[in-house]
Symmetry: C2
Subunit: 234 residues, 2 copies
């Protein structure tokens, strides 16, 4: 397989050779912004996947795009673990089941029935599973910008996950972020270094359905609120 | 001033009324993806701003777009504090100076001179400053998805910051995320509820220069690494 960077660079050359070469800043117009807003509006946290595999090289390309994300001090602390082994996948599924059962038991009785009906993971059908970690031990970036807030390393990884999410959606792929998991178990199951902090487990594949409304809103669990409620002035 | 949601919805209606109305999923083509990659490639963490003010309604629109971001359990825990008061801005600048001095002193001697030359905040020139918090105390979302990982609330806020960043860049605006700050001091300076966790302080304005290379790479502090180094298979 070609290295990721070559695959990614090849794509880039195919599509913007002239501008890449002379480093002329791009101009983004109203049409592009409208499409970008469409992308944001139709990005979903997908739980129901088709089982079809992805074309070869898809994940390499998407991870290459994700690596364009911002990171504190240019530390690039994101670590992507492609989970392919069936036993490890089964162990992650078992981890989810335990945590989800505990979460169900902690719900108010009048919400428990609704909770139980929600589909909260796409672990059985999604062809791709990626566990994402933040390397808190990385020397890259010389600790710049993270002395008072070491959690900014984790935040950098979250921006990379979000970039991956948007890039996937722009190819018609869905992504579901599973967080009902025990982080320590994930580290053990995947045998990654102790300095890696678990950020999230991603299921990726073709969605059964595209939607502009969050599943939790469709199912009556919660609804989105107006933006003015989250802004204050000081 | 019009409420945020109305302003945002008006824009949406102007640009995609038909598709919005019938909820037909958009199709994203190779041209759009190439432009999206351009956006990601030319997003920068901006530290040098022009002092020009932003057009009225810009921040309301951008925050409305940011609220399209994913959030754990649909909790929407993002809280945006528009910092306008001169005394509070001065206090934040003083907070940065203290933290930055400490960070400088902790650098290796051979890196300290380079560190001192880096411009690490745009607090003096950026017309807009926004402190962003995560409301760890929110009841919204019924704690779904966050029992084992309450930090996913903060991660949700980070995706909103990243969305704001991309939406700003698509309008030719730059954003700089300042993290060399004491979170407890930020909470005190801005007099926000104790349950709010400080995520980051954002400077927004027109950049003095557009670039496809991170400032820290241009200045010789750090360089980006090839994506294949951050992927493992399990």
């Amino acid at each position: 397989m070609e290295p990721f960077s070559q695959q990614f660079e090849q794509r880039s050359r195919d599509r913007g050779e002239q501008r890449m070469a002379d480093h002329t800043p791009p101009r983004f117009d109203a049409d592009f912004r409208a499409r970008l807003y469409d992308l944001l509006r139709w990005r979903r946290d997908v739980r129901r996947f088709k089982r079809d595999p992805l074309p070869d090289g898809t994940m390499e390309r998407l991870i290459g795009v994700a690596c364009l994300s911002p990171s504190v001090g240019l530390s690039e602390p994101w670590r992507f673990v492609l989970v392919e082994n069936a036993k490890r996948r089964a162990a992650i599924r078992a981890n989810f089941e335990v945590c989800n059962k505990e979460a169900l038991e902690m719900q108010d009785p009048d919400r428990a029935a609704l909770y139980a009906r929600l589909k909260l993971a796409g672990l059985d059908d999604a062809p791709v599973q990626i566990a994402v970690f933040s390397d808190r031990g990385t020397a890259q970036g010389g600790r710049l910008g993270r002395l008072t807030m070491p959690e900014t390393l984790d935040y950098s990884v979250v921006t990379a996950v979000h970039t991956l999410w948007l890039a996937a959606r722009a190819e018609g792929l869905g992504l579901g972020w599973v967080s009902i998991l025990d982080p320590a178990r994930m580290t053990a199951i995947l045998e990654v270094p102790e300095t890696w902090v678990f950020i999230g487990h991603l299921c990726i594949g073709y969605p059964q359905k595209e939607d502009d409304t969050p599943a939790l809103e469709r199912e009556g669990w919660e609804h989105r609120h107006a933006p003015e409620g989250v802004v204050i002035r000081r």
